[in-house]
Amino acid sequence: MRFLVFVLRRLAATALTLAAVSVLSFLLMDLAPGDFFDDMRLSPQMTPETAAALRARYGLDKGFAERYSAWCKSALKGEFGVSMAYDMPASKLLAPRLKNTLLLGGLSMIVAWLVSFPIALLAAARRHSWVDRAVQAATAAALALPEILFGMLLLLAAAKFGWLNSEVVYLENATVSQLLGKMLLPGLVLAFAAFPVIVRNLRTALIEAAEAPFVREARAAGIRGARLWLGQILPAAANPIITLLGLSAAGLIGGSVIAETLFSWPGAGPLFIESIMGRDAHIVLDLALASAALLAAANFASEILLYAADPRLRAEGGGRTPR
């Protein structure tokens, strides 16, 4: 029951935030000079009358309140407005793009965690050893190369050594190996950016948990090695690890714009840049909202997990946001 109240409260807060984001984006758009059809005035087929007719068709000549309510109505219908560049309901354009982004982001996150986890565990277990120092140095170096820098380096290396296959792949009917081939480089950028953050925080969380009195007791009782680290210390570090999970997911959402655009992965990122250039207002708004919704979902999932993992929160939290 308490859990239900907690969930409902969080959902309501998220809905409120998203509504506020949509209103503010609409206001921003209103202040912005120019619209989609301004960029088309150079086209010889574009007379001022045609532009005016098209503006009327997409409702650009109406006032702020009317346009916002029209967008809200279409959002309730599940269409989320209309793309002027593609002349189709936004949802049809966005759905496959978001699916691709989630696929790439999800796989990169799994890879990043699979690589980071044993490394962090090893560094924490052999603290102050040469392994630990090497891991520290490696993560410091990786931190100096955020998505944009590592992505450019990878792009250069790919151009130099011919890793970029220019083969055209239609994702709908691609084989798994073709799909993985297309995802390799952008996925590597995302995983590489997540790697130092995960390793550093995970190592700290594990070391903190390893200093608890009960771990000393367990050591004295002769519990060692994998039984100690995986059976005793890891569960005790569950809270920071879950928080880290949400954090790394949030990092991926932002970083995906860079990775996808640099390596032309047909996700939400390149579409976002494209619609900004073309002033395709509803698509910009929808994608900003979708990214906020994804971020909220990641935070929400980690809060639910925390709630499930930590009996203390269930006992005393009373539906308050766990920290």
Binding site: L24, A140, K160, I276, V284, A288, S291, L295
Partner: protein, 269 residues
């Protein structure tokens, strides 16, 4: 000992970078926009220290002059974000009720959209084509405003916490005015935090300029910026032939590393 060596390295690198960028007109022999169509994509040599780009412009000169734009945009933007953050801190510290809650709610709202999406969305609604000077200001302003919430929330929370301390309440009960509270109790707590935040934000903001420009939303040609130097590398043919255009990459990586070292150093103190 090791920490000190690293700090010396970080400070030394930043000082050297700023010095080189400040002396750009004297260190570079060619104007950044001067083209020499006879030798496009020339390798490093005596006439062109780092070679030329695909229009035959001196990469060394463009690197130095572009660094002024990129680092300048980062510095202005970080200053703006921290300044807005201090304003938020002051608002949250001096008022107890509605204003404090509004500041915190606004920060949450800005933080609810992922950073790069927020940055691009705000950029989306501003004019696309502008002169070089305007673009520098516009890009810095967009980055600075988009990023205010991170330092803003932190400083507002800190200010709210300081305001509730007993000695501050005591001062208030003695009749201390708002400006006295601000000067005597809030600012001494907020300023060091703001300085650390500045260091933390700076590399990300320089990279934000690079990202915006790389995607065609920042500083346009023919002006030089680090993002502008890197942009042609997105074409595989240029990337294979004109590797000297990647010169900003190591400088940026060292900038990120140095700021990271210094801010961690400050946080530890």
């Amino acid at each position: 000992m090791k920490g000190r060596a690293l700090r010396t390295f970080a400070v030394g690198y930043l000082a050297l970078l700023v010095l080189a960028l400040a002396l750009a007109p004297w260190l570079a022999r060619h104007a950044p926009e001067q083209q020499n169509r006879d030798c496009p994509c020339a390798g490093p040599g005596w006439q062109y220290l780092l070679g030329t780009d695909e229009l035959g412009r001196d990469v060394w000169s463009r690197l130095l002059h572009g660094g002024r734009i990129s680092l300048g945009a980062g510095l202005i933007a970080a200053g703006l974000s921290v300044g807005l953050g201090l304003l938020a801190g002051a608002a949250a510290g001096l008022s107890r009720g509605l204003l404090r809650r509004m500041v915190l709610a606004l920060a949450e709202l800005f933080l609810s959209v992922p950073w790069l999406y927020l940055l691009l969305a705000i950029r989306a609604f501003l004019p696309l084509t502008l002169g070089p000077g305007q673009v520098l200001l516009l890009v810095s302003a967009v980055i600075g405003v988009a990023g205010w919430a991170r330092p803003g929330r932190l400083l507002a929370q800190m200010a709210a916490e300081v305001r509730e301390r007993e000695y501050v309440e005591a001062a208030e009960s003695f009749g201390a005015g708002r400006w006295y509270l601000m000067k005597r109790h809030l600012l001494p707590e907020l300023l060091p935090l703001a300085a650390t935040q500045f260091l933390l934000l700076l590399p990300g903001y320089v990279l934000a300029e690079v990202t915006l420009t790389l995607f065609g939303l920042g500083v346009g040609e023919p002006a030089a910026s680090w993002g502008n130097l890197l942009a042609p590398l997105r074409h595989p043919a240029t990337a294979a032939n004109c590797l000297q255009l990647a010169a900003p990459l190591p400088l940026l990586a060292l900038l990120v590393l140095s700021c990271e070292l210094l801010s961690r150093d400050r946080a530890r103190q």
